[in-house]
Amino acid sequence: MVGGRVWQHFLYFLIIIISIERLLVIPTKEGSEFDTNMLLK
């Protein structure tokens, strides 16, 4: 049960990380190298 919760938290963590990563990648002609830098305002 406890192990299940750890996995659940890990899954949530993964989903959040993937979501943030997706947000950081804005498609431009120059690819992602441009984009992540651009968001570091």
Binding site: K29, E33, D35
Partner: protein, 796 residues
């Protein structure tokens, strides 16, 4: 007095007459193309699916009514204006007289019987030929499937975009909002009837952004084009994918009323090019020309962008000497497209020793490291050594075709060919022809020969080629766009008539295959599939004008007109109202003239990728068509709006703190007027710069005249953001008064010539000789324009 009183008394009668004729007028217009008008109230469920459609019954020629148990609607259709050519501007009103209606939208439907899937459906910058093509799922730049490689019969295949159904039995509907299009418009051409239909709409009503939808019935015998208020989509289109839309139907209470204005035009058209040219003529008919704003002169754009290029695009990498990079990476070099071996051209025009060394290094780098055995170049090189295949080749294909080593975009090779020769011409014009190294010339000629060899062998040039074997890796698409222009320059420079002959054959072939037959060109951007795009349309236009330059044949002007019309469909024709809190809204940016790149990447951008659009100037000069000049002026204005300048933060508009306003000369590729990247991204800029949008500004400032004047005719067009008037004095001399309303000092190039001179195609380096008028910020000045085109200051 008597007359004015009569008009006053007759006015209400006239209004009634116009009113009563409205339905009849629109019916008369639409019946020419087997069409009719209907009005509906649409009801939605919580998931934005249409739950019910209620049709309005017309009571008379103007008024309609819809009565249900809970509500009563009144509608009216009023003809505001009818053009001599039959174009009709309508005001259509919906009013809820009784009851309350939630989750609803109102629809103006143009219904067509006798429909055919052969009809060419075009929604500018979003839908070409109905987007009725095979689709790759997978979002932004989806991988190509193995059957697309080395397959001569590969169909034109696009990313997952809004489209009409390709197969029988599938639902066939396109649902967009007006912000998904460069002009709020829908259109089609019927090859069977030789007729075209265009409806222009307003961007929004008080309920929000209007909708544009096209729906075919099950057996495709009927279609409806609908303008809705508000627009309610079940799904919103993204960059090659869809997500649940956040559109909200409106909640009506008794007394609520909206008015929608539309412009409807039905016309004869022999073919798709004729249809597109009529579209270009009409696209601003409802919303009108955008006002001219005075942000900065072209010379200021050149000055500040040069500072940015000096700062951000020159670098000494570990693997080579100091050279120009086209983008923000100093490990990757992309040739052509976004500026590799292109951004060196405006730097060469500065004609100084230090930059010349860097330009030469860039040439050496490209020529020594990026050319394959076939003569074609690789499009991407990492760390000066690693060539990057632009479309990863599946193992199954490698096994069948072991001779294929890699692949590169044909488009990048076309650009490389064109810009290498443009550099050579500029070197010569500057009296520095001796600096053109023999190995550069040899490399350029080998590339020209590679195009000729492949075209002669295959009858086409494909989208991707293998730089080693010269074989086409992915066929189809119009990715060759600028290659014929490159071949034309190669033919002239190398005195090789065979290059010119092939250029003509390629240009004719691709025009017929794509522009004329499909009504689109595509596959020209490095980050899309074979989607329709603007870059190939403008690239082909470059080629047609190059062919006109070399041959003087009017045939190329005719093709150029059609291609320009296609280019106009990609260019935003009105000022979208950005949210005030957005970056673009914060400095009141104007979207007119921003150019969409492709149907996959659903945003506009500052300028054409990557060009000045000088071919539009050349076409205007050859034909006198001011619509072409205005299109170019819009594009210049659209770019200028986005450039960060002193006291005008643009890319850094969203930044707080000391960095705000420091990105002088920066511009970036987003002019996002839609929710394709989410509602929160509308009007968003990113705090940085794209090399290719910088390059656009540099090229426009360099290759286009600020003011163009034909001295023997009353013909003047001002491209720069200054004001000018001209008069002839009693001695026949032209006096031109210039005013600079911008906050920046200007150096305005003036190109004056006679109409006889204008009949001769313009050389590629003519700009070197245009005189410049210095005009301080806010000042006015009169100059004398002499018959030889020279300019003399006569008054400050």
């Amino acid at each position: 007095m008597y007359r004015s009183r009569t008009i006053f008394l007759l006015f209400p009668l006239l209004c009634c007459f116009i009113n009563s004729r409205a339905q009849q007028d629109v019916s008369n217009v639409l019946e020419k193309i087997k069409g009719s008008l209907s009005l509906e109230v649409l009801h939605f469920d919580d998931a934005n699916k249409i739950r019910e459609k209620q049709k309005v019954a017309f009571i008379d020629k103007s008024n309609g009514s819809l009565k249900t148990q809970d509500a009563e609607w009144k509608t009216s259709v009023t003809a505001l204006q009818q053009d001599a050519d039959g174009g009709l501007q309508l005001s259509i009103k919906f009013k809820l007289l009784r009851g309350a209606v939630n989750n609803a939208s109102t629809a103006i439907n143009f219904n067509f019987s006798d429909w055919s899937i052969k009809n060419y459906v075009m929604i500018p910058a979003a839908v070409y030929n109905g987007n009725r093509f095979p689709v790759l799922k997978g979002g932004y730049m989806p991988p190509y499937t193995s059957d697309m490689f080395c397959n001569k019969n590969v169909p034109l295949t696009i990313s997952d975009n809004p489209r009409l159904a390709l197969h029988e039995g599938e639902p066939s509907k396109i649902d967009l909002l007006t912000w998904n299009a460069s002009t709020p418009a829908m259109s089609f051409f019927s090859p069977a009837m030789h007729k075209g239909f265009i409806v222009l709409a307003e961007p929004k009503t008080k309920w929000g952004i209007n909708g544009l939808s096209v729906e075919e019935n099950a057996d495709r015998s009927k279609a409806a084009f609908s303008v809705t208020a508000p627009g309610v989509r079940e799904y919103a289109a993204g960059f090659g994918d869809f997500s649940k839309s956040q559109d909200k139907p409106s909640n009506w209470k008794a007394g609520d009323e909206i008015e929608m204005k539309v412009y409807v035009y039905v016309f004869s058209a022999t073919d798709i090019p004729a249809f597109l040219q009529t579209y270009m003529d009409k696209r601003k008919r409802l919303l009108g020309e955008s006002p001219q704003y005075y942000v900065a002169p072209m010379s200021a754009i050149f000055h500040y962008t040069t500072l940015q290029v000096d700062k951000a695009r020159v670098h000494k990498p570990s693997f080579y000497d100091t050279m120009y990079f086209p983008e923000n990476s100093f490990t990757r070099f992309q040739l052509g497209w976004i500026g590799g071996l292109m951004n060196t051209y405006p730097m060469l025009s500065l004609n100084d020793a230090e930059r010349s060394k860097w330009i030469a290094n860039t040439f050496d780098f490209v020529v020594s490291k990026m050319q394959g055995k076939s003569g074609f170049f690789y499009g991407v090189l990492d760390n000066g050594v690693t060539t990057v295949p632009e479309r990863p080749i599946p193992d199954s294909i490698k096994a069948i075709h072991p001779e294929i080593v890699s692949n590169a975009m044909v488009r990048k090779n076309g650009d490389a060919l064109l810009w290498m020769y443009k550099h050579f011409l500029l070197y010569k014009e500057l009296g520095r022809g001796n600096e053109i190294k023999p190995e550069w010339k040899a490399a350029a000629k080998r590339l020209a020969q590679a195009f000729v060899n492949t075209f002669e062998r295959e009858g086409e040039l494909g989208q991707y080629v293998d730089p080693e074997s010269g074989k086409i890796v992915v066929y189809n698409s119009a990715a060759i766009s600028s290659a014929p222009a490159g071949l034309v320059l190669a033919a002239t420079y190398c005195h090789e008539p065979a290059f010119l002959k092939t250029a003509e054959a390629i240009a004719d072939s691709y025009y017929n295959r794509f522009t004329k037959t499909l009504g689109l060109t595509g596959g020209n951007c490095g980050d899309i599939s074979m989607d329709p795009d603007s870059e190939s349309a403008f690239g082909l236009l470059e080629s047609f004008m190059a062919l006109y330059w070399a041959t003087g044949k009017k045939h190329w002007l005719e093709l150029a007109k059609a291609e320009t019309a296609l280019g106009s469909t990609w260019t935003v024709s009105y000022n979208y109202e950005f949210p005030k809190q957005s970056d673009l809204g914060s400095f009141d940016a104007h979207s007119t003239g921003a150019v969409w790149a492709s149907t996959q990447n659903k945003h506009a951008a500052p300028g054409i990728c990557s060009a000045s659009g000088d071919y539009l100037f050349k076409l205007y000069r050859a034909t006198g068509d001011t619509k072409v000049a205005q299109l170019l002026k819009d594009i210049i204005n659209g770019h200028t709006e986005e450039v960060e300048l002193p006291n005008r933060p643009t890319v850094s508009a969203g930044v707080t703190g000391s960095e705000r306003g420091t990105k002088l000369g920066c511009s970036m590729e987003r002019v996002q007027i839609s929710d394709a990247e989410g509602r929160g991204v509308i009007g968003k800029l990113y705090n940085g710069s794209n090399g290719w949008t910088e390059l656009n500004g540099l090229l426009m400032s360099l290759e286009l005249p600020g003011i163009y004047l034909q001295t023997d005719r009353n013909e003047m067009f001002v491209f720069d953001q200054v004001q000018a008037t001209s008069v002839k004095d009693k001695n026949g001399l032209i006096l031109m008064t210039l005013k600079n309303p911008t906050p920046f000092d200007a150096s305005v190039s003036v190109f004056a010539e006679t109409s006889k001179q204008a009949a001769k195609p313009l050389s590629y380096t003519a700009f070197v000789h245009w005189p410049k008028v210095s005009l301080p910020a806010g000042k006015e000045l009169t100059v004398q324009v002499n018959k030889d085109g020279s300019v003399k200051n006569i008054q400050k």
